[in-house]
């Protein structure tokens, strides 16, 4: 999302928007918000760990060692073993793949859907607006975990269905925010100018509204990834989300619950991973919000 200075100067004066290129944003982040920069590093590490899982651990994801079940953390098994004698750290490294995927993929999908519908509602107004926003109201009336449970029930288990569920749960909020943004942008002079110049509607949306919504969308993305990870882990915790043989962090906590009192590392190690991951995205999101999009602050 590189932005030339010319494009940036297009933005109306009412918005204190000073975003430069990616490098510029990162530089500002490192200078002014050490916590956010550190969080970005943590996220990078998590992604690397997920990608390099087979290299980082001597054990396989499902390697069982029945002589060494529910073993406490030791030099051989840094975070102990589970009820089948599988190495927890290894399971967590592989689990981070699923957890990160369920954070990122459905968030991208719900952002795409929400942004499209939000821009359409804001730009077209009238009946389109009413239909889209009332649908969003209905979705937002559900407590998100209950909506996710009902959709999972309807569609059945499986990774793809988890993705779809999280998309359906999260698009409405994105649509609402993007619609508000579109309504604001619609009034600005350069959109007016484009309209007078005879630029077609789809082109205005894609070339003028979408790029100007980008900072908001990027911030929303970093803040929605942890929400998706939390919802997935809650679903898995209730036994509804990811099914074996896949292991997500939430799923590991779910299976570990039976041994909470004699082998607490089964729950607490993946639990801590969820927390670190969620916090890192949260801090990064807050930092990006302050740098990219000051007016989102009161959200």
């Amino acid at each position: 999302m590189r932005r030339t200075p010319k494009q940036a100067s297009n933005v109306g004066p009412e918005k204190e928007f000073r975003a430069g290129g990616f490098r510029d944003v990162m530089r500002r982040l490192i200078r002014h918000n050490k916590l956010a920069a550190f969080s970005a590093a943590v996220i990078l590490l998590l992604i690397l760990a997920a990608a390099l899982a087979p290299v980082l651990t001597p054990y396989g994801e499902t390697d069982m060692d029945l002589t060494c079940r529910l073993a406490a953390p030791s030099a051989k098994h840094l975070l102990g073993t589970d009820e089948g004698g599988r190495d927890i750290l290894t399971r967590m490294l592989y689990g981070s793949r699923i957890s990160l995927l369920t954070g990122v993929v459905p968030t991208l999908m719900s952002m795409a859907l929400g942004a499209m519908l939000g821009m359409l509602a804001g730009f077209r107004g009238g009946k389109t607006d009413t239909v889209i926003m009332r649908t969003a109201d209905v979705m937002l009336a559900f407590p998100s975990i209950l909506l996710a449970m009902v959709i999972m029930y309807t569609m059945g288990d499986g990774l793809i269905n988890v993705f779809l569920t999280l998309t359906l749960v999260n698009w409405a909020e994105v649509a609402r925010i993007v619609r508000a943004e579109t309504l604001r942008l619609k009034k600005s002079e350069y959109i007016e100018a484009a309209r007078v110049a005879g630029v077609s509607r789809p082109r205005i949306i894609l070339r003028h509204i979408l790029p100007n919504c980008m900072p908001t969308l990027i911030v929303l993305f970093t803040l929605n990834v942890p929400t998706a990870i939390m919802t997935e882990s809650s679903l898995s915790f209730l036994g509804l989300g990811i099914q074996p043989p896949f292991a997500s962090w939430g799923r590991m906590v779910n299976t570990g619950r039976k041994y909470l009192f004699n082998a607490p590392w089964l729950c607490f190690a993946p639990g801590a991973a969820i927390m670190v991951c969620v916090l890192a995205f949260y801090f990064l999101g807050n930092g990006l919000r302050d740098t990219l999009d000051p007016h989102l602050q009161d959200r």
Binding site: R134, D137, V138, A141, F142, P143, I145, L146, M149, V150, I151, Y153, T154, P226, M230, S233, S234, F237, L238, G239, L240, G250, V253, R257, L260, F261, P264, C267, F268, G271, I274, M275, V278, L279, Y282
Partner: protein
């Protein structure tokens, strides 16, 4: 004002109806006949047909929905497939524990949230401020089941101060209430802090100080009264959230409440029970939002006059 509130109430009813309809359709497009689930695989086809007709499942879906809706308005949510009892009766039995849990969790959230937010705002950027804000951040970012299990492990299993699970004694509600209310305490304390910091910059606070009013008086009579406005609305929304969102807390601490009933309904593929419990939660959330709207316009004279 009354007009706008009535309009809001009307909108809320429409949303609720739409939710009921969506839920009804969603739970019925699931493949598989509920009668076979209920009677087991060994039932013969004649019995299944008879039962399907008896339960009205052979009728068109809009007829079924109309029947359900008129029944629901009279307080009849059908009969649970798995527990073989009226859904209304099951929910009424579970409601007490859920309400207790929500009340305790809200008390925790309000007291801790307002207290921490107040102290943090008064000592901005001090050590307590940072500690409280860190505490609230943990509450906002930790999944409820992790908080719940850590509390259960440390305070019930290791220290043996409180019961591990159940709902027999008031002490059993302490840990679940903290686990459930922490998130909300975090949200409230951040809101109190930021509103109070804004208000303390206002001119009328300087005026009050210049008049020679004591700091405590300035705080309670001038600053807090104005800061409470958004906080009270948030408290209303959060309370309904707690009442409807206890699914995970109730599961971890094995409390017989509406949340656990919902989980039971899903694992038992029990459509009427699921419909009833989810509809209950959605109604609570919608009512909470409506209440927040009302409170806002009643408490803020500017909005009261405007409308």
């Amino acid at each position: 004002m009354l007009n706008s509130l009535l309009r809001r109430a009307g909108q809320a009813c429409v949303v609720l109806l739409a939710v009921a309809m969506l839920l009804f359709v969603m739970l019925r497009i699931v493949p598989g006949n509920p009668v076979t689930t209920m009677m087991g695989e060994h039932a013969d086809s004649a019995t299944i047909e008879r039962m399907t007709a008896e339960m009205g499942l052979d009728q068109p879906i809009y007829v079924q929905f109309w029947k359900y809706l008129t029944g629901a308005l009279r307080g009849d949510f059908g009969t649970s497939y798995s527990l073989k009892k009226p859904v209304t009766q099951l929910m009424a039995a579970a409601l007490g524990n859920t309400v207790k849990l929500a009340v305790f969790a809200s008390l925790f959230a309000w007291i801790v949230g307002i207290g921490c937010g107040l102290l943090a705002a008064l000592r901005k950027n001090s050590l307590p401020d940072r500690l409280f804000m860190g505490f609230s951040l943990l509450g906002v970012s930790m999944p409820v089941f992790i908080t719940a299990m850590v509390l259960q492990y440390v305070f019930a299993f290791r220290l043996r101060w409180l019961p591990i699970s159940g709902a027999d004694h008031w002490a059993s509600f302490v840990l679940p209430a903290v686990a459930l209310g922490w998130n909300s305490a975090g949200n409230i304390s951040r809101l109190v802090r930021s509103t109070l910091l804004d208000i303390l910059e206002e001119n009328y606070i300087d005026t009050a100080r210049a008049k020679g009013r004591r700091p405590l008086g300035v705080l309670t009579r001038h600053a807090l009264r104005n800061a409470m406005l958004p906080v009270i609305t948030m408290m209303a929304i959060q309370f309904s959230g707690l009442l409807s969102g206890a699914v995970i807390t109730e599961t971890v601490f094995s409390i017989n409440g509406i949340g656990q009933l919902t989980v039971q309904a899903i694992t038992g593929r029990d459509i009427p029970l699921m419909q009833g419990t989810v509809l209950f939660s959605v109604t609570v959330v919608i009512l909470g939002n409506l209440l927040a709207d009302c409170l806002y316009s009643v408490l803020d004279p500017r909005i009261r006059k405007e409308a």
